[in-house]
């Protein structure tokens, strides 16, 4: 009996990687600069692996996914098609790392904007993101 039980257990463990992702998005922020904006957020996953494929802000400029790298003090930013969200792990969109980049200025006439995160497997998640200035500074709205 022991061997089939272990076999069943290992099958269940192997199956983890193929289980459905269970995602939550928190701390979504639009960091608005003059000619562009960065989108930061924390994406937690209680299930199987998934990938972030797009971020959208309704009625605003397109957003592409970027990865910033810092090598020997040189900053490089590259567009990527998708960003990995590991099994039972976290994708942290943050300054100096992976983030969304608005391809133009964001019209920030409200303190928050509706954002939609799209994934390879998981259903899209819509959330309101705080609009802030560089470094999290408050900005005047309606300009």
């Amino acid at each position: 009996m022991r061997i089939p039980a272990l076999f069943a257990l290992s099958l269940a463990l192997a199956g983890c990687g193929r289980s459905n992702p269970a995602l939550t998005v928190t701390n979504a922020t639009v960091s608005a600069s003059a000619n562009s904006a960065a989108i930061y957020a924390t994406i937690d996953n209680r299930g199987g692996a998934d990938r972030l494929t797009a971020i959208e802000i309704e009625g605003q400029v397109p957003i592409s996914l970027h990865e910033t790298t810092m090598t020997d003090g040189v900053m490089r930013m590259r567009a990527v098609d998708a960003l990995d969200i590991p099994t039972k792990g976290r994708l942290h969109l943050k300054s100096g790392g992976a983030h969304g980049m608005a391809m133009g200025s964001i019209t920030a006439d409200a303190p928050a904007l509706p954002l939609t995160f799209r994934f390879e497997k998981h259903a899209p998640i819509s959330i309101r993101a705080a609009v802030k200035g560089p470094g999290g500074m408050p900005i005047e709205h309606g300009h």
């Binding site: 960091s31 600069s33 003059a34 000619n35 562009s36 904006a37 960065a38 592409s64 970027h66 910033t68 810092m70 003090g73 040189v74 900053m75 490089r76 930013m77 590259r78 567009a79 300054s95 100096g96 983030h99 980049m101 608005a102 391809m103 200035g133 560089p134 470094g135 999290g136 500074m137 900005i139």
Partner: protein
């Protein structure tokens, strides 16, 4: 000429040669001590956000923090400038404690007007500079700043560039850098060092 007059003339020549050697020696040794202070960058003239000529000699006597970036940069550049503004506040010596100097590495897109719009975001005095591509290339080269255009989707481009903040004291001597991933406390100490 008598023998005596010749001897005096020769001694005068020896004295002149000795004095010249002494002057040369002093000049050379003072140059050496300048070099040990890590001179960085050559004098330059660029254009500020109001379209006026900006001569780097106006920084003489003022501690300053120099950062190279571009206004289409969404992440590292605005966050670096916002942090300098925050640290200058924390220093508690007012906006004159040190001057924040932003030099564009994207002179084609960063016109003086764009720079003006950009620096308003930081709610603190920032000297933002641009110029012709040649003028900017001369400045980046003399300050040891790497910058290169990197094409992105839709015919746009990003600019890969050195992201350290360069710190200069009131004598114009280069005193070190602040790295992007450095925490605030050592960064603040370095700013204290250039402003004390």
């Amino acid at each position: 000429m008598s023998l005596r007059a010749l001897r005096i003339t020769l001694w005068i020549l020896v004295a002149v040669a000795a004095a010249a050697a002494a002057v040369l020696y002093v000049q050379r040794s003072s140059q050496t001590s300048d070099e040990t202070k890590l001179a960085l960058g050559a004098p330059f003239v660029l254009t500020d956000s109001q379209g006026r000529k900006f001569d780097s000699r106006s920084l003489e006597g003022k501690p300053h923090a120099m950062f190279f970036g571009f206004t289409h940069c969404p992440d590292v550049c605005p966050n670096t400038l916002a942090r300098l503004a925050k640290l200058r506040n924390q220093l508690g010596k007012g906006d004159d404690a040190f001057q924040i100097v932003f030099v564009s590495v994207d002179p084609e897109r960063d016109t003086p007007k764009e720079l003006g719009k950009y620096i308003k975001l930081f709610n603190t005095p920032v000297t933002a500079l641009t110029g012709t591509p040649e003028e900017v290339a001369d400045v980046t080269r003399s300050f040891g700043i790497y910058s290169r255009k990197a094409p992105t989707e839709g015919g746009n481009y990003s600019v890969d560039h050195s992201a350290q903040v360069l710190l200069f004291d009131a004598n114009g001597d280069f005193r070190g850098t602040i790295a992007f991933d450095e925490t605030d406390e050592p960064a603040l100490q370095k700013l204290r060092n250039i402003t004390s």
